[in-house]
Symmetry: C2
Subunit: 187 residues, 2 copies
Amino acid sequence: MTIKRSWQGRAFLGMSLDGFIAGPGGDLSFLESEPGKGQHTEIRSDHPALTWDTFFPTVDAIVMGRTTYEKVLTFGEWPYPGMNVIVLSSALESDDPNVTIAHSPEEVIALLDDAGVKNVYVDGGRTVQEFLARGLIDEFTVSILPIVIGDGVRLFGPESRATFAVEGAHIEADGLARITYRVLSNA
Amino acid sequence: MTIKRSWQGRAFLGMSLDGFIAGPGGDLSFLESEPGKGQHTEIRSDHPALTWDTFFPTVDAIVMGRTTYEKVLTFGEWPYPGMNVIVLSSALESDDPNVTIAHSPEEVIALLDDAGVKNVYVDGGRTVQEFLARGLIDEFTVSILPIVIGDGVRLFGPESRATFAVEGAHIEADGLARITYRVLSNA
């Protein structure tokens, strides 16, 4: 399932050690809960994972699902001014000037190709799952929080398959284990 | 749920990035599959996680569940000669001289206290979950394989809760991301 394209799909997600990107009902509070604050050993690396500060400036387009879009809207001020942002939703209609709505992955791909972008930040659990299954994720940075929450919204689903190569990793002062993987296969 | 005891409970487990310690039906082949072999960046650390070679020699007792015990028996030669090994099973009866059967966690705890052991390797997904829930796991080393398998036997269950402090981490040449955590809480 490889589609010829001029851009890289790049995921950048946080999850609990048991694989949840959100708690029950999409609750993101555990991401801000600073589990074990002040008790972690920070571990630097000569091959660090990407961080938001090294990842985001390289991005020239964002694809997100409807759930993530609606969550971002609750943040108040639009966080991505001037950025090419595509919201993937089968049903959503919107006149929000900050985003382009695409009703299918095929429409997203056509928009990205037309825009001539190079580095696409793919965000949101369902969208990342779907893009991974279609062979559209090339790089995967996961930030593993030092917590087990038991229930919520999973990063990966029962249909997810992937093999990765480690490109970088480090432990941040807040206990986040960041790993940047290159995606080798999705089967 | 803290029980006064003279020993440390220590877990040492491998899992896929999506949280599985075994595939469907308990299949362990993915643990030996060397995903992405030869394509990983090895990352050393001045605070490495435990490895089998630094962890196992410190252990003076092992607790495992019935599933793990029966898996170990398939390996052929008994891998833990002379070690105090307790198998936790509500129903199993055995005259295997290599192990002591305990029919409840309380019985395991009594056996460990009586034996005067200090460092107890707690093995097997269900047993680790149960011991974690009872506040009997103090240290947790996880080795995250660079693979997503989608389905199987999970390390953590819907009732699992934990907060950890990172003590060490590194990436091995085979792409295993090893992290050693201290368990801060199980709620």
